[in-house]
């Protein structure tokens, strides 16, 4: 195929935009392993800042991973049945509920956080525990899970598939686990990636909800940039990437593994 000048112009533009977006990330990561950012790369490379972050902010990293996984579990447990119920009952009420579920996305995280504090701020043990942040994160991410599972469920002929399974003797739970769940894997996976990423990176709401003892990674990152050397802040970014990328890859891999077969292959 012959490519005209328009193609190369577009390619060039795309590469330029990519470079523009990626350059800060690369520079930031570089800054995190540079001895002195002011004097530039020639001052040499070091892992000192990474160690410093590890020493000072290890807890925030683990808390963030913990919260994002707990948030994932919460949204799976609440979101999949919700999406299933919405997909099964298509009436005015379910459509209204669907709209309502998207509301928190439209409401700024700060407002949700304030509402939580006003309502539960007085409940001492709850206010100071990481579960307080988790509740905020679940509120924030649940609509993403419901939406992405619902999109897949609406695309398959769920009713007939379930009737087919029922005609073979499948009870409600057998239908749910053998037919419904496996056929919305794609939606669950997409929703999971979204939930984990959003929870990991959530700042607005978390900043209001956190206490000195319940600091998540992004909150710590903001602290580091505000109060410490730029190199430490940058090293923090690097650690953030190192944490989240393997997690997302692992999720993707888990989501794609084929379920075990129950009928042995013939010959």
């Amino acid at each position: 195929m012959k490519r005209g000048p328009a193609f190369y112009a577009q390619l060039g533009f795309t590469l330029f935009v990519c470079a523009f977006l990626i350059a800060p990330v690369i520079l930031s990561i570089l800054a995190g392993v540079t001895v002195n950012y002011q004097s530039g790369v020639q001052s040499g490379f070091t892992l000192r800042w990474v160690y410093a972050v590890w020493d000072g902010y290890r807890d925030t990293i683990f808390l963030s991973i913990g919260i994002s996984l707990a948030c994932l579990a919460g949204t799976l447990i609440l979101g999949i049945p919700a999406a299933y119920a919405l997909a099964k009952r298509q009436n005015a009420f379910s459509r209204a509920l669907e709209e309502l579920l998207v509301m928190p996305v439209a409401v700024p995280g700060l407002a949700t956080a304030l509402a939580l504090i006003v309502t539960y701020g007085g409940v001492g043990g709850f206010r100071t525990s990481w579960v307080f942040i988790l509740v905020g994160h679940i509120l924030f991410t649940l609509p993403f899970m419901v939406r992405s599972v619902l999109a897949v469920l609406s695309a398959i002929d769920l009713k007939t598939l379930e009737e087919g399974a029922a005609s073979l003797g499948a009870t409600f739970w057998q239908r749910f686990f053998h037919v419904v769940l496996p056929n919305c894997r794609g939606g669950i996976l997409a929703g999971s990636l979204m939930v984990v990423t959003l929870s990991m990176g959530e700042f607005n709401m978390t900043w209001l909800l956190h206490t000195p003892l319940t600091k998540t990674l992004p909150v710590g990152l903001a602290d580091a940039y505000a109060s410490l050397r730029l190199e430490i802040g940058s090293a923090y970014t690097l650690v953030f990437f190192l944490m989240i990328v393997p997690l997302l890859v692992a999720l993707q891999w888990l989501g794609q593994a084929r379920p075990t077969k129950f009928v042995a292959e013939d010959e």
Partner: protein, 347 residues
Amino acid sequence: MTETMKPLAITLTGCAKTFADGTKALEPLDLAINAGETVVLLGPSGCGKTTTLRIIAGLEQPDAGGKVMFDGEGVTPLSIEKRNVGMVFQSYALFPNMSVAENIGYGLRLRKTPTEALRARVGEMLAMMRIEKLADRRIDQLSGGQRQRVALARALAVRPRALLLDEPLTALDAKLRDALRIEIDELLRRLGITAVYVTHDQAEAMALGDRIVVMEHGKVAQIGTPRDIYQRPATLFVADFIGTMNRVQGRVANGGFVTAAGTIPWAGAPAHITEAMFRPQDISLAEGGDAHLRGTIAAAFFLGDRTRLAVNVGGEKPLILETGTRRDFKHGETVGLRIDPHGLLSL
């Protein structure tokens, strides 16, 4: 093959159905299906065929007062998973997350069939539907005809007490439809299973049914063998829906039916009738004194082996007949028609 499950007799009494939105899909319906017979529910779209089938299956509850009985035993409150009836859907309803073999084995897996027995039965079903080569395919790698074979195999694998089919061939193209229809016919006869088959295609119904239930607007219009229904339609609706029916208006006089276009000899004609009916194959072209009716050609369609003619005899609609003669027909030409007295019907 080891299909010896005692076939099931199904009885519906007073089964009406009103949907939540107020749609009255079925008037109270009584239907007795004998063990081992194939009953076809036939009628135009929206007449309540699927609703009837779903009531038999347990996917839909009849309105209060309706009863469903299997071998004389009430099963009305039982949901479908407890009725052990096989179901084949127009849209196949195969599980995309399972291979062909897994789909066929699913019902056996639910019944905790031991692996060896399960494999053997799945193999048997694959062979029966001649789809051995497809065992490990995913569903999205199959054609429509192959999917319907898998669906049949899946429904039959668990040895259901009856097989319920809802327009299983409607989504297929004409040629495939004929081939699979013949196969289903053979299969149902060989297995001796009770089958209820829903279709809106009268040719399919005639070919498959031991008995046909013709439905109209949520009511049974007629129940009978294909021959009964074709030769002795009980209502105008049935007469028109099954095949082509010619109708000509007139009155009975002197052992004949007198119309504006001539008199048809009819010894046993009921005295009160004002309309005579006959099928296209009971009309032949005739000359001079042999002709009972005279009319003019309204249209002629050359079909290769025969010619289909529409002949105007002054009635509401032209008469339809087919002839094997080689001659040409011209619009407006006058022809003589002879009616076979054995083919004459009235309502």
